[in-house]
């Protein structure tokens, strides 16, 4: 029995999600049951969370549009704009105007392709 318990603990430790900060819990995503699920994400991906009230959160830190612009500029200068995927995790109730601001920042940084996150299944 102790062996089984140890194996369970090892399983839990191995499957623990260390990237929890990437996904803001206050963001309620819209469903997209017919879209293809994300299998592997580029490690350079910038996940931008936009809450229903318009607050922008990246990696668990609240920030404003100029800060996001500065971060994106820094990253694109280092790796090139074609190499940096941006995923906008917008709340389903946030107004598009707020998302538009982020899209405009991406465009100004030379990123013409962005992705919008949605939920396929509840897991």
């Amino acid at each position: 029995m102790i062996d089984v318990v140890f194996q369970m603990i090892i399983f839990f430790i191995c499957t623990i999600d260390l990237d929890k900060n990437k996904f803001d819990k206050k963001v309620v995503l819209e469903w997209a049951r017919d879209a293809a699920e994300v299998k592997e994400q580029n490690p350079l991906t910038i996940n931008v969370n936009v809450r229903a009230d318009g607050t922008i959160v990246i990696g668990g830190t609240r920030m404003n549009v100029p800060t996001f612009r500065a971060i994106l500029k820094n990253v694109t200068n280092r790796y090139g704009s074609a190499q940096v995927p941006v995923v906008i995790r917008g709340d389903k109730n946030v107004l598009h105007g707020r998302v538009r601001e982020l899209m405009d920042v991406c465009k100004s940084a030379g990123i013409w392709r962005v992705s919008f996150a949605a939920i396929v299944t509840d897991g």
């Binding site: 603990i9 839990f12 598009h96 897991g123």
Partner: protein, 141 residues
């Protein structure tokens, strides 16, 4: 006497070498309970890719071939298809019919700033369902 002392010493050493199992099992169970309680199901996400063309850029002129662009509007009160107000189900039917003809057609999505982001994602989901990948999102006031 000396032999007895040696035996006792060896016995004492053997007793010291034993690992107390009961507290260790307690700790292990506590760890297990902690991991089970803090376990959260991770939802499976999808990334809906779109192209965000600049409204400042001059349009490409193709005199020989008319551009195959489908215009879909996302507004706070619903969707439009070529300026005609439609429901989500009608939009689904239109896109299904169009995808049968060509999946590479450009779908230009005009999104109003006062519309909800969820509406845009739902539309992108319909496009993903019919494997229409040439999607452009333009914001409209």
């Amino acid at each position: 006497m000396a032999r007895q002392k040696r035996r006792r010493k060896r016995r004492d050493e053997e007793e010291e070498a034993e690992i107390p199992m009961a507290p260790m099992i307690d700790v292990v169970f506590l760890l297990l309970i902690y991991f089970i309680m803090t376990l959260e199901p991770i939802p499976i996400f999808a990334n809906l890719n779109v192209f965000t063309p600049s409204t400042d850029a001059p349009p490409k002129v193709q005199p020989d071939k008319p551009p195959e662009v489908i215009r879909i509007g996302v507004y706070s009160d619903g969707f439009t298809f070529d300026e005609i107000s439609v429901t989500e189900r009608q939009l689904d039917n239109f896109l299904r019919t169009l995808s049968r003809a060509s999946k590479t057609q450009t779908v230009l999505i005009l999104c109003a700033t006062d519309s909800k982001h969820g509406s845009l994602v739902r539309l992108l989901n319909i496009c993903a369902k019919y494997e229409m990948t040439n999607l452009s999102v333009v914001s409209a006031n």
